[in-house]
């Protein structure tokens, strides 16, 4: 009888003792969030057409992506030690209602995220766009960068900062309107002990 009880208790005891070894992990390889068309103001210097020598200036804007609508809390809420959120790409598509018909005016663009005093550059585009191009697509500077710490209340606020370069005689747009799509991947791994303790 004692041996029977021992045989039944040993696996149970091992299971309890192994809570630090047992684990669960989940991975979402790609989730893409497309927000409604966003309008970003461009500086014009009071000019409608670029003067001789061209027109150069800078601009900035923000896009709020609701990550929590797309990813469950268990994937994104928790310590960066075992919760990973990675930026995959950003795509902006000029809409028909945009004051700027295309991206001819764009010289370079930087994409950053921030949380409190922390700022991380996710992507950078430079070199101007092909004439008449209406779609801008940029990838990450560091594909392995974990940005889960930059989530704020389930949202990821992306800051776009760029430079304008318009040749002489060309029209200076006052704004540009585009639908913006951000793509991300997420992964989480927790041991059973962490789940029991409620630590993440």
């Amino acid at each position: 009888m004692k041996r029977i009880l021992l045989a039944a208790l040993v696996p149970t005891a091992l299971s309890i003792a192994g809570c630090g070894s047992f684990y669960a992990q989940a991975e979402q390889p790609e989730v893409c969030i497309t927000v409604p068309p966003q309008t970003f103001t461009l500086p014009t210097g009071g000019l409608a057409v670029a003067p001789p020598g061209g027109f150069q200036d800078t601009f900035s804007g923000q896009v709020d992506l609701g990550i929590s609508d797309a990813l469950p809390d268990l994937l994104v809420n928790g310590s960066p030690d075992n919760h990973i959120l990675r930026f995959l790409s950003l795509e902006a598509s000029i809409t028909s209602s945009s004051a700027a018909a295309n991206f001819n005016w764009l010289d370079d663009l930087s994409l950053t995220v921030s949380n409190g005093g922390l700022t991380e550059q996710l992507a950078f585009f430079a070199g101007g766009m092909t004439t008449g191009s209406k779609i801008l697509r940029i990838g990450p500077l560091d594909a392995g960068n974990n940005i889960v710490a930059y989530l704020r209340n389930g949202s990821m606020v992306l800051t776009l900062e760029g430079a304008i370069a318009i040749p002489a005689g060309a029209q200076i747009p006052s704004s540009w309107t585009a639908s913006v799509q951000g793509c991300f991947s997420a992964r989480v791994k927790e041991t059973f002990q962490e789940m029991i303790d409620g630590t993440k």
């Binding site: 696996p11 992990q25 989940a26 991975e27 979402q28 497309t34 797309a70 268990l74």
Partner: protein, 212 residues
Amino acid sequence: MRLAPLLLIALLAAPAPAAADPQENAQGAAATAAAPAPVAQPAASPAPIEEPCPQFGLQFAMGAPDGLVLSLVYSPLSWLLLDAGFAYTLAPGLVLGVEFRPIDFFVSPIIRGEYGYYFTGNTAEQIKKWSGLPEASWPLVGDASYNWFSGLLGIALGSRRGFTFTVEGGVGWLSLNVKGGSGTIDNGQITTADWKAQSFMPVARLSFLLFF
């Protein structure tokens, strides 16, 4: 009197074991025949033939992550059991197992390996509730199925030729596969790719097996 003749006489007088006097033999045989014959002992009973172990059985099991399983068991050797069964937890599935019972006794240790596969069913619905996704995001979770394999140690109580009860525990590897989806949430479009979850976990199992 000389010794040699005495020795010769003694040798001649001693009964020879091989060539006995026929007359003496006849007398001895008669004496033997006259003595009551020994009682004939009954022939020794043949060693009892051990009843062979049944080759087939029906098994009902419950456990994690098995759920409820009804299996047909085939035993080509007394210490080897193979089973295949229909299972149900959140969805219907099947479970295949191989089991070693090295001892034919009322109490026997067990070593078991098994594989299970569960088709899509209510699994996706449960994931939507457990994941914490807002209800508006539920279209992002498509059909889900899962499979697992495990190794267990346990004890079987009962007769290998009748009914046994087993209790087992061990470790397993489970893989959950979920189809992605798309939906419109807060005027935005969200698209998710197929995603997966995996777990290295403890497993446990109780079963009731009837051999026939």
